[in-house]
Symmetry: C2
């Protein structure tokens, strides 16, 4: 297996990206192709102790975090993220991992690999730490406006991903809304509710914001606007709550002692809510494998994202997703997109 | 000052509501009118030690938590929440507090007191615990679909409320979106951005989910769907994080000792994120004062909601909000609603 890593993408690129890629190569024994400026990358690789099976694929450009995604991808044909997906298209690599501009990663993935037949809107599936294991939140930012049929497709794709890649069995699927009753929500959600209800998915109805971390639902479907707000809010809350707990404890002698004594439980607690543990968010609906990482990814996050990509490839998630979409929709789904 | 409390509304009504009302009456020396079944309420009052200035206004009906709001309010003309707002309309009380069906509270408030002239959509302003004090999130559930001009009005109303009731000076106003750049978000947000940018408000542009608790923005504007998800997600996260921290600590002897020793810092930490501290969410845009409480409100939450209602009345927030709306929009705002 060979995984392409966009070595120029991310707030801490290339150092953290290269380090994480090397860790993945060593730990998992997979081949990595770092895409980016060969001179810089060779230096980075040299500054790390062990290198595993790491190759460099040179390119001259990189998309910046604040560039308009579509424009950047069209203009920069030799950018690391676009070149990485082109390697996947040619079959030189099996998957692409990037912590760069997520809109550009999405655009490059769709433009280069294309969409799965009949999928109108690929989506990003965020993996959140639930009380009883990961929760898949889809979409977390690819589509700010969605039609009901798009939401339903997100659910079908996430279901296939959760079963084949995360080992879930018949995961519970919920539709994110403002109340549990069928009548609650906006029109888009109410119509999507009907589609889910008629399906073979283990649909449990509407769920609310408070259910995202409750562990009572494994797949939560929403549009990319709501999902993005929810994802970033939860990340922000973990950060602020951890910080404030520390602040409160530092205020007293007893508290400082507690901090000293309690390293292990506090560390386990912190890890439970750490996005790094999940590494990245798969791009579902493209005709290939792409993992979008947090811009601020550390080397650990990159390593775990590569691990997720490897699982995705090994478990033939793409094939199973296509089969699943065919079973649900049959040929000619386009006519159902309303 | 006299505040009507819907004594039949809420998961723990009437016990918790009556207890909270009595606490408020005693602590703050204000008159309370409990609206509900007089026999039940007299018994509840009797079971509490001190009663303060508490009166009972009898009514025969109550709206249940799961009833369709509008239908229930229209049908149940003698329901506690409707009667409470009718007392406000007649001038017998200065404000209404309810922990009942929030949709019904909203509907009863609008139907009975009417809207402030030119406000097309009243909204619920949620108060969240920010790092540097409360953050106003508007709307948290009154309007699942909003036009850009509605979002702008929410901002103007929240600004007037934050300044006159929470003592904020020139609070920073942000528009909740999926990225900081002006171009990010859906069409509704992009158009609202332009309205905010032209205004006199201290508009800082788009903010993201992670900014809600950062303390860098005091007023966050969004539609009621997104706001409701965000509010409930944050409540859910606080609950689950507190629980998991405890679970981790209980796993070891050291951890159990920490829990025992650390009561005070842990309690301060818990309080920092406790929605009870803010009590309720004001209904902005109605021609009067209404506070919507969490369905699961404890007596402390009810007491604090009554305190908020009293502040709202004392500080003449409604008058100031009307003046503020007039300054921003002038007469004939309706034509601007697009």
């Amino acid at each position: 297996m060979n995984i392409a890593v966009d070595a120029m993408g991310g707030d801490h690129a290339p150092a953290a990206v290269v380090k994480g890629a090397i860790q993945a190569a060593v730990d998992m024994g997979i081949d990595i192709t770092l895409v980016g400026d060969s001179e810089i990358l060779a230096r980075e690789i040299a500054s790390n102790a062990s290198s595993g099976h790491i190759a460099i694929h040179h390119c001259n450009e990189a998309v910046q975090m604040d560039e308009p995604p579509l424009k950047a991808i069209r203009k920069k044909s030799d950018s690391s993220i676009r070149v990485a997906f082109e390697l996947a298209k040619k079959g030189d690599v099996d998957a692409v991992v990037s912590a760069g501009n997520s809109g550009a990663t999405l655009a490059a993935g769709i433009m280069t690999l294309g969409r799965i037949a009949d999928v109108e809107r690929p989506a990003i599936a965020g993996l959140l730490p639930g009380e009883r294991g990961p929760v898949v939140l889809i979409d977390v930012g690819a589509n700010v406006n969605c039609r009901p049929a798009h939401l339903f497709q997100f659910g079908v794709m996430a279901n296939a991903f959760a079963c084949s890649c995360l080992g879930m069995e018949n995961p519970k699927v919920g539709l994110l809304s403002v109340g549990e009753e069928e009548c609650k929500g906006n029109e888009q959600v109410r119509l999507a509710y009907e589609l889910f209800e008629k399906s073979q998915l283990n649909f449990i109805g509407n769920v609310e914001g408070r259910d995202i971390f409750s562990g009572d639902v494994e797949i939560i479907v929403c549009d990319g606007f709501v999902g993005n707000v929810a994802l970033k809010l939860s990340e922000g809350m973990v950060k602020i709550m951890t910080k404030l707990l520390k602040t409160e404890l530092l205020k007293s002698f007893v508290g400082r002692t507690i901090l000293l004594l309690g390293r292990q439980p506090f560390e386990r607690f912190r890890k439970k809510f750490d996005y790094e543990e999940y590494g990245g968010a798969p791009l579902l609906g493209i005709n290939g494998v792409g993992i979008v990482c947090h811009g601020g990814s550390s080397s650990t996050a990159i390593k775990n994202a590569i691990k997720l990509a490897a699982l995705y490839v090994e478990n033939r998630v793409l094939e199973k997703m296509i089969a699943s979409l065919n079973t649900v929709f049959g040929p000619g789904i386009q006519s159902d997109i309303a």
